[in-house]
Symmetry: C2
DNA sequence: ACCGGTTCCAAACAAAGGTTAAGGATGGCG
DNA sequence: CGCCATCCTTAACCTTTGTTTGGAACCGGT
């Protein structure tokens, strides 16, 4: 996906509620963006740093994660093209977590200075970006529920269905029976708050039960009905529909 | 605590970074606020609703929570006077969780309309409020780590220490050896992602070990050193210090 | 084709936490 | 004063998840 397509998917999301006018859209399109390529598994910004720019994902996948003193890592979110996973750094000087690529990725960097100028000049754009960070927070809330309340198999399929929904809203198109999910079993464990061994157990189980097949960086849905039943996934928290 | 003191603590937090000027502060003080009293254990806004105002806590305690289809409740955050726990509703039309009082509380309601007028007229204020919602999100991130990675006793003391830190930053004053923590053991379980029985087990254990005493709606610290060791609490994620 | 490093798979055992059930303390209220 | 409701407390037993460990499959680089 190249720059224009990504900007389009970003704009589609931002436009959702605040009704950007043509001048707002033009101003966003005019933002200076420095495109850089990144290897997989490499930090974009790390806990403790004070970045001076935000990162738009043009191509690839990223995660945000925190590491405890004891050395355990918790994955907080998974990010796809069209998203700006560290937009919060615009107002929170110091990073409180890491932002890391999962796979080789193309990133677009936008300076805080230019974003601040834009948001101060155009309250509509400020609202739209603000709203985007609020959806981010809504996803964190659901992630807390996931890790706190659901048994491990439900946790996994819930995350998978969330990612599928978000991929669909960017790429468009019909239901995806197969989609990218580029996490190793160890990373799946870190996302779900379980050990890699247990992650393997439940993946194996879900495969044996012919519900989903999670392997080689992909998810393949085998039984949509039982999957929905297990995941209890309700996409309302993604706030994709502006009127809803 | 009455209205002025609460506005003061709100302003202190908002002023942290964006450096509000006197006109900004006057504009915030001029916001029309409708003060109402609320019983304990009563919803202020519920999942699915479309509120038209935000709620400033003047006196009391509130929680935010989500309930799964299976009927399990997860507490997402605990809120204290000076905070606006549903500020996100300004840009996210529909609630994706509940906001509930824990104890009898005094609340100040501010209409979305007046907030929107304010933020559009004064970018500094918009930035300050935006930043406040970003700190909210940072707390969610740490909550994910808490529920996902820490064993139950560490989860409890981590939440307690977070609340103490936030109470201190509002009320001011020296280290608190005892502070309010108005959750029942069932609610503690809902916050930590464990059953009330297990909550009781770990509370008893922490008491026997002379680390903390959690009872009758209060936390009493018995051994500050071992508490810190157990909680691994690092307040950086609260972003209280603007320069840090 | 081989090698070293990941990643995945798997089994046996241990520990944390869930379930069920029931008695006891506490506190508001008639 | 006694009643009821809520909360706390505890125990016995069961399930899920963690731990440790080892081997198999896969993959990029030489």
């Amino acid at each position: 996906m190249e720059r224009d397509a990504v900007l389009a998917s970003l704009l589609r999301r931002l436009d959702a509620v605040s009704k950007l006018d043509p001048a707002d859209i033009a101003a966003i399109r005019a933002l200076p963006i420095a495109v850089r390529h990144w290897e997989g598994g490499r930090a974009i910004v790390s806990d403790g740093e004070r970045p001076s720019e935000c990162c738009l994902i043009i191509e690839g996948f990223c995660i945000r994660s925190k590491t405890t003193e004891a050395g355990q890592r918790q994955i907080l979110s998974i990010h796809i093209p069209g998203e700006i996973p560290d937009l919060q750094s615009l107002h929170l000087r110091r990073m409180d977590h890491d932002l890391v690529t999962l796979v080789p990725s193309t990133l677009g960097f936008i300076s805080h200075a230019s974003l601040r100028t834009l948001t101060h000049a155009r309250p509509n754009v400020a609202d739209a970006l603000w709203r985007d960070t609020l959806i981010d927070a809504a996803i964190f809330r659901e992630w807390i529920v996931n890790v706190g309340q659901r048994p491990a198999p439900a946790r996994l399929v819930h995350i998978a269905l969330e990612l599928r929904t978000r991929l669909l809203s960017v790429r468009g198109g019909a239901e995806l029976a197969t989609f990218e999910f580029p996490l190793t079993q160890e990373q799946i464990g870190e996302a779900l708050g379980i050990t890699p061994v247990h992650a393997n157990r439940i993946i194996r189980q879900l495969r044996e039960d012919r519900i989903v097949d999670v392997s080689r960086g992909h998810v393949r849905v085998l039984d949509e009905t039982r999957l929905a039943e297990l995941a209890q996934f309700d996409d309302r928290y993604l706030h994709q529909d502006p009127v809803a």
